[in-house]
Amino acid sequence: LIPTGYFKESRDMSHSGRNDLSICGTLHSVDQYLNIKLTDISVTDPEKYPHMLSAKNCFIRGSVVRYVQLPADEVYIQLLQDAVRKEALQQKQ
């Protein structure tokens, strides 16, 4: 289950790669490997990666993402729960 349909208008998503780089931005798209494209990005730790300060759009390899943080009010929680329940039932059959 890839809950990409449940983002209303994603803003302020944070990503954390294995070297603890956090990137905040607007979710543009996601593919089946969870490769993520963000636009209007800002790096939350610019001292560590100063060269990324001027970057605007980025493509992040799915395998290096440790977690994705979404603002709770941007996600349709109810819909997400329903879909997950449905998926779990299907897999049991």
């Binding site: 349909g5 759009n57 493509f59």
Partner: protein, 179 residues
């Protein structure tokens, strides 16, 4: 630069998507000169005028980004973050590395920046890299099997879509055995 080596420029057999001449390569802030960037399906390569260069494997590329800040000293460029170490300088830094090698938990990160003289090419370079990256998923990511769709564009969808792939009931069950 000890890691620079000579190799033939990638061609159609490597799935060359884009070739960008007159592109400066910068490694962790150090300029490597001007050359040609080859964005191929097999790997990302850069070769300078004398035929020396390097290649980057897509699985090691953590992220790439477009930098549009003209006030940046390099101007607009393509930023590539690689999960690998590249030898840069002389023996002095090797000695330093030995001392710092106790940091086994910290993964090596190298920052490359590719600065084409033709700034209008940046968008296409970025897109070509996205396409190539998508061709090299980690082999471990096998559990995302039923999701066969292409890139999911968040803005193109109005939001609430439930996508459940129908499965045939009992398709994973063992066949009946007649006793």
């Amino acid at each position: 630069m000890s890691f620079l080596k000579s190799f033939p420029p990638p061609g159609p057999s490597e799935g060359l998507l884009r070739q960008q001449p007159d592109t400066e390569a910068v490694l962790n802030g150090k300029g490597l000169g001007t050359g040609t960037l080859y964005i191929a399906e097999s790997r990302l390569s850069w070769l300078d005028g004398s035929g020396l260069g390097f290649s980057l494997e897509y699985p090691t590329i953590s992220l790439h980004a477009l930098s549009r800040d003209r006030s940046d000293c390099l101007g607009e460029h393509l930023y590539v973050m690689v999960n690998a170490k590249f030898e840069e300088e002389s023996k002095e830094s090797v000695a330093d590395e030995e001392e710092e090698d106790s940091d086994d938990d910290v993964e090596p990160i190298t920052e490359f920046r590719f600065v084409p003289s033709d700034k209008s090419a940046l968008e296409a370079m970025f897109t070509a890299m996205c396409e190539c990256q998508a061709l090299h998923p980690d082999p471990e990511d096998e559990d995302s099997d039923d999701y066969d769709e292409e890139e999911y564009d968040v803005e193109a969808h109005d939001g609430m879509e439930v996508d459940t792939t129908p499965t045939v009931a009992g398709q994973f069950e063992d066949a009946d055995v007649d006793h």
